[in-house]
């Protein structure tokens, strides 16, 4: 997956987790938490959805990498480079 595809996949996951949120105005550099209503349970779900969809394991100490879209994509790029769309 390219970084653009990873971003799209994260948006898709966020839409699954929080269907009522408007994700169109998300700013990549700003923490998700400051833009949409996500609690720690929802962050766990991002991790779990990545595992469910792509068999990607993210250790607990790396959860903080998922704070914003930018940091998430940067973190996932090496892990998902071989994942097919």
């Amino acid at each position: 997956m390219t970084s653009a595809e990873i971003k799209q996949e994260i948006l898709d996951i966020l839409h699954d987790i929080a269907p009522d949120e408007d994700l169109s105005g998300l700013t990549d550099e700003v923490n998700f938490r400051d833009q949409i209503e996500l609690d720690s349970m929802d962050f766990l779900d991002i991790v779990m959805e990545l595992r469910k969809r792509h068999r990607i394991q993210i250790p607990e100490e790396d959860y903080e990498q998922l704070a914003s879209m930018q940091s998430t994509v940067t973190f996932l790029e090496p892990l998902m480079k071989d994942v097919k769309v």
């Binding site: 699954d16 987790i17 929080a18 269907p19 009522d20 949120e21 209503e37 609690d39 349970m41 929802d42 766990l44 779900d45 779990m48 595992r51 469910k52 607990e60």
Partner: protein, 467 residues
């Protein structure tokens, strides 16, 4: 080999099951009874539908609300607000001798009522709201403060303290005489700041939604499958043995059977308290608070009799006693639930009024069958007589009745003493002395339907999904 075996197909077990099945675990829910729901269930009797457990859902926030337990629960279960078909209450009340406080899902009504009845206390009430808004339910440091002590610091009018405690204790205090401050704050928010509502079809709608979701995701549900024991080898759970002798292997077990009940199921003979947490006390006391509930079918809507309250919490003296009943039923206080008094688009087909009072488990359990039946009739009348001191007398409109006792609760839930809210000492982190055995449900710490579902979700997230 299952990834997770869940004991009990009540609200918490089903919710946990949905989370695990959704994330592709092999998961099996074992239910001793012939039907799901545990404490919250439903039945049909002489052509009418009845609910057990559910009076109303708490934490009702309007559709589109993103914060709060209901919104979180819906997100976690991948369900939508519309699935639950919730109608808000018409209004509820707290009735003490000569004084009533009305409340509904708009906090301003209770504010106005307190200003009207206790004008000197309204500033303190605003202070209380501020404290509760700021209360962090995931921070355990304040959970065990006494709610009575905290309220006494705020209010100079003891009657108001009693009137605030009565509904919150009835809807969720496992502790006698007092409430943990944490539990008080959670309940205050759930009932007064968010609000009460009910699905048109009652608790069966919620249970059917949960079970359908669980099965669609590939989860297995086995009814009539009581667990005889949890098999332990070298400090780890290896599976369970069913009452019929069948053995099931599992990588972990999540039990909603209750703390004491789960400990008894373990076959490792462990009976003493052990670290890692100093509060991990295996021999904690089972809860002692149980209830009787009368159910009356009427031939007309309670509104026609002038009764419009969804829930009426009553107490017949200025002091509210919350303790194990020393008589078969404690007639001094109770909860009158009118499922018809919610703002439905279409009226319910049946009309019922239910009254819940504290009751003595020891008494009801001790009776032989003929006496038990006779006593149910006798106490049905006494409970109703007590309640109609506070609401319109509906007794001439009754066309059918039923009643449950602490004995019924034990039969359906397996919980010691018929203790609806479980042990007063909760295990908030859900861990036990075994590294792959966890508890969820009432004894983990959250009560009520929204609370139980949240308990199942959070224990599944915390202990069963992270490896």
């Amino acid at each position: 080999m299952y990834d997770t075996i869940i004991i009990g197909a009540g609200m918490s077990g089903l919710a946990a099951g949905i989370r695990l099945a959704y994330f592709d675990q092999r998961v099996c829910i074992l239910e001793r009874h012939t039907t799901i729901g545990g404490l919250n269930s439903f039945y049909r009797l002489r052509g009418r539908d009845y609910d057990v457990g559910l009076h109303a859902l708490t934490n009702i926030t309007p559709k589109g609300t993103k914060k709060g337990p209901l919104a979180r629960l819906l997100r976690q279960l991948r369900m939508s607000w519309d699935d639950f078909q919730i109608s808000p209450q018409l209004g509820s009340q707290i009735a003490f001798p000569g004084v009533r406080l009305d409340f509904n899902n708009d906090m301003d009504l209770l504010r106005a009522e307190i200003a009207r009845v206790f004008p000197g206390q309204i500033d303190s009430f605003e202070n209380l709201i501020e404290q509760i808004v700021d209360y962090d339910d995931l921070d355990p440091s304040h959970t065990e403060l006494s709610a009575r002590e905290q309220l006494a610091l705020l209010f100079s009018e003891p009657l108001l303290v009693e009137m605030l405690l009565c509904p919150l204790m009835y809807y969720g205090s496992a502790r006698e005489h007092d409430m943990d401050w944490g539990q008080f704050s959670i309940m205050f928010r759930s009932i007064f700041m968010e609000g009460l509502g009910r699905p048109h079809a009652g608790v069966r709608l919620i249970l059917k939604l949960l079970v359908r979701k669980f099965r669609t995701l590939g989860g297995e549900l086995k009814l009539r499958s009581g667990v005889e024991r949890i098999a332990v080898e070298n400090g780890r759970v290896v599976g369970v043995v069913l009452e019929g002798g069948q053995q099931l292997e599992a990588r972990r077990v999540l039990s909603s059977a209750g703390w004491c009940e789960t400990m008894r199921l373990c076959d490792d003979g462990q009976t003493v308290s052990i670290p890692p947490k100093d509060r991990l006390e295996l021999n904690r006391q089972a809860g002692r608070l149980s209830f009787c509930e009368t159910i009356a079918s009427l031939d007309l809507e309670p509104k026609k009799l002038g009764h419009t309250s969804a829930i009426t919490f009553f107490n017949d003296s200025p002091n509210f006693d919350w303790q194990q009943s020393s008589t078969p039923c404690d007639l001094r206080s109770g909860v009158i639930c009118s499922p018809n008094n919610f703002d439905y688009q279409l009226p319910l087909s049946d009309v019922t009024i239910r009254i819940t009072v504290l009751a003595s488990h020891a008494y009801w359990q001790s009776l032989d069958e003929p006496t038990y039946k006779k006593e149910k009739l006798r106490w049905y009348d006494r409970i109703t007589e007590s309640a109609v001191r506070f609401v319109s007398d509906y007794r001439l409109r009754v066309i059918d009745t039923d009643m449950f006792t602490p004995k019924t609760i034990v039969r359906f839930t397996g919980h010691d003493n018929g203790a609806i809210y479980g042990t007063p000492e909760k295990q908030l982190d859900g861990i036990t002395h075994l590294e792959n055995l966890f508890i969820c449900g009432t004894d983990q710490g959250f009560v009520g339907i929204i609370g139980s579902i949240t308990s199942g979700i959070s224990m599944a997230n915390m202990h069963c999904l992270r490896d």
